[in-house]
Amino acid sequence: MSEFFHMGGYAAYLWPAYLLTFAVLGWNVLSARRALREARAEARRRLTADREDGA
């Protein structure tokens, strides 16, 4: 199993590359969901604000 991680000597380059790419994948998922959550919260805040000044 260990020689799998050894990756023929390229381990020091291959795994960081994979980790970084999957970090980018993860970041995209999280930031997209956060953007949606914030947009919904902002819309909700605006609606209550409109309701308060009797629009």
Binding site: T21, A39, D50
Partner: protein
């Protein structure tokens, strides 16, 4: 030609709901494909006769590079549609692309450097592909910078649309000039990044990863699109039932 389908895509509430229902249909296949390709690329595919296992970086580098360019093209075309037909939803799509495109351009840049380092002995070499990705990253950063510098959302949409279109027209010219520049100053051994003839057991995981990344992009785009549509329709009535 019945244009109502076109108008349907123009109506924010419809797009908001459609994006919501479609997201899982892209997200799950993307996840499965990526994991399968990961297994295929790291375990099943034989080592390369020249680079041994080092070549397996292609399975993350090539899809990132593919996404970076494809996403810019999608962004520019959405911007063009938004500008010509004045469709808010199209601008929302363009706005949703920027972050994804920039992140994958950066990923392809770094993975490219990680791939080249063992060959070149240094972290950076003025290889035309790396330089082209770097310039593409600047184009993305310029787009994001312009968008954040303009407060009014409508104006930011239209101004960044012009920039995206100018950028997509210039991109092939920039790439040509970098290749041309590279050919006249012969830089150190230019490493063949993309394999012209790959045996199937090497190529299959790559194609699966490319498709997986593309579906992943669409899924992320749909989620971001809903957020961008909401931002542009805050005052609209339909937002009430959707949000509360």
């Amino acid at each position: 030609m019945d244009w109502t389908w076109f108008h349907k895509f123009g109506s924010p509430p419809h797009v908001y709901r459609l994006a919501g229902t479609l997201t899982p249909w892209f997200a799950w296949p993307a996840g499965i494909l990526i994991i399968a390709a990961l297994y295929g690329g790291l375990v099943l595919a034989p080592p390369d006769y020249q680079q041994g296992d080092g070549f397996r970086i292609i399975y993350v580098h090539a899809p990132s590079a593919w996404l970076s360019t494809m996403v810019y093209a999608v962004m520019a075309s959405a911007a063009a549609v938004g500008l010509i037909w004045r469709m808010k939803v199209a601008h929302a799509v363009a706005a949703s692309c920027a972050g994804v495109g920039a992140s994958f351009t950066a990923a392809s840049l770094v993975t490219g450097m990680l791939w080249g380092e063992p060959m070149w002995g240094t972290w950076w070499v003025w290889d035309p592909r790396l330089v082209a990705q770097l310039v593409l990253l600047f184009l993305f950063l310029g787009y994001i910078g312009l968008r954040s510098a303009i407060d009014d959302l409508g104006r930011a949409d239209r101004a960044s649309a012009v920039l995206a279109i100018v950028g997509v027209v210039n991109l092939p010219i920039i790439r040509y000039s970098v290749e041309w520049w590279n050919s006249i100053h012969q830089t150190p051994s230019v490493m063949k990044m993309d394999r012209p003839s790959m045996p199937m057991d090497m190529l299959a995981p790559l194609l699966m990863m490319l498709l997986g990344f593309t579906l992943f992009f669409v899924a992320v785009l749909l989620v971001r699109l809903r957020a961008e549509v909401l931002r542009r329709e805050r005052g609209a009535a339909w937002v009430k039932e959707v949000v509360s």
